[in-house]
């Protein structure tokens, strides 16, 4: 399948962002290539369309970009997992650790039934902290079943498929390498 290589080639690496030592995987270049973007969505849709998934949760904000088209294509509801204070109505929240301090993610409690099967999407998994918090939101708080977490890019320790908080993690491509050109 030539698509993963084409997808990898479309991801731009920005060195030392947001801080020194981090090689940032910038997926926004991929979004400028409609063919590559469509490949990403198609691969995820092919994987999930027969898994009886009724909910796709996307982690703010880049998870929205991939989660929304996937939800539409497989006929699932889309649920945004958001930074604090953005959602209305009844919300549940989960704290997670940052390198310094902590942050929170929130999800709306409305219309989530405990028998639902959920997919959680983000663009990239680095430490796994955000995805783990999202899984906690679903499983322990909302009572839905997380079928899988999916990311476009995963850092090497997440190579292939493995598990995060006991849930399968599917990663489409490994990180791209910096090609030496400065931006």
């Amino acid at each position: 399948d030539p698509r993963p290589q084409a997808i990898s080639d479309a991801i731009r690496v920005i060195p030392h962002f947001p801080k020194t030592g981090i090689m940032f995987q910038d997926i926004t270049m991929l979004l400028l290539d409609p063919v590559a973007f469509k490949h990403v969505v198609d691969i995820f849709v092919d994987r999930y369309k027969h898994m009886n998934i009724s909910l796709v949760a996307g982690v703010e904000a880049r998870g929205f970009i991939f989660g929304s088209p996937i939800a539409l294509a497989i006929g699932a509801k889309f649920i945004p997992i958001r930074k604090p204070g953005k959602l209305h109505g009844r919300v549940i929240s989960e704290e997670y650790e940052l390198e310094y301090g902590s942050d929170r993610l929130e999800m709306s409690m409305e219309a989530v039934k405990s028998y639902e099967r959920a997919l959680v999407i983000d663009d990239l998994v680095a430490t796994g902290a955000t995805l783990s918090a999202s899984i906690s939101l679903w499983v322990t708080r909302a009572g839905a079943e997380v079928v899988e977490c999916a990311c476009l890019v995963g850092l090497p320790r997440f190579k292939g498929q493995c598990r995060l908080k006991g849930k399968p993690l599917y990663v489409l491509v490994e990180p791209s390498h910096f090609d030496g050109l400065t931006i």
Partner: protein, 182 residues
């Protein structure tokens, strides 16, 4: 709730799937919360279809989406019409070289940013957000794209809060909406 295009039978269903929150963000404003629309798979699909039908085959090569709810509607539209998706973001979120445009808030200012080189002069674009209120963010997005030579064909939102006068703020730029809170 009035509908912009009463003729299309999909619009009333979309309108009824949107939760209205009175007196938010200020007294007298009826905020429209699209997260309930996203839970109605048919309404969400119809929303995207209405935009795709309008913009397909019109030579639009750029769909710009305003962070963050524009990231929910913009990408499926971009994919369906074969256009690039360009995220327009709050400051310091985009890595690499960016250009930015400042805009006024009620108190103070904010900025919207886009990657340098994401678009080329002469491209035809639509700008998507879920809702237009005062039009501050959308008009900043228009200015940003126009500064680099892009032609804005239209701004498109699911909802308009006409009492906030966003349409006036957009001036000459056309605005297409599905649902008005009037």
């Amino acid at each position: 709730m009035a509908t912009e295009d009463g003729q299309d039978p999909r619009i009333p269903k979309i309108a009824s799937s949107i939760r209205v929150i009175p007196d938010f963000p200020k007294p007298g404003i009826m905020f429209h919360d699209i997260t309930t629309l996203l839970l109605d798979t048919e309404a969400f699909k119809d929303t995207i279809d209405l935009f795709v039908e309008r913009y397909k085959g019109k030579g639009i090569s750029v769909v710009a989406g305003v962070e963050a709810r524009g990231f929910i509607f913009g990408p499926p539209i971009a994919l369906a019409i074969g256009a690039k998706f360009v995220p327009m973001r709050k400051p310091k979120k985009l890595p690499g070289k960016v250009i930015s445009e400042e805009y006024s808030l009620e108190y103070g200012t904010d900025k919207i940013e886009m990657h340098v080189g994401a678009v080329e002069p002469g491209e035809r674009a639509i700008i998507i957000d879920d809702l237009i209120a005062t039009g501050g963010t959308l008009s900043a997005a228009v200015r940003l794209l126009e500064r680099v030579g892009v032609k804005i064909v239209e701004c498109a939102c699911v909802i308009e809060l006409p009492e906030c006068k966003g349409r006036e703020k957009l001036g000459e730029t056309p605005l297409f909406i599905l649902i008005s809170s009037a």
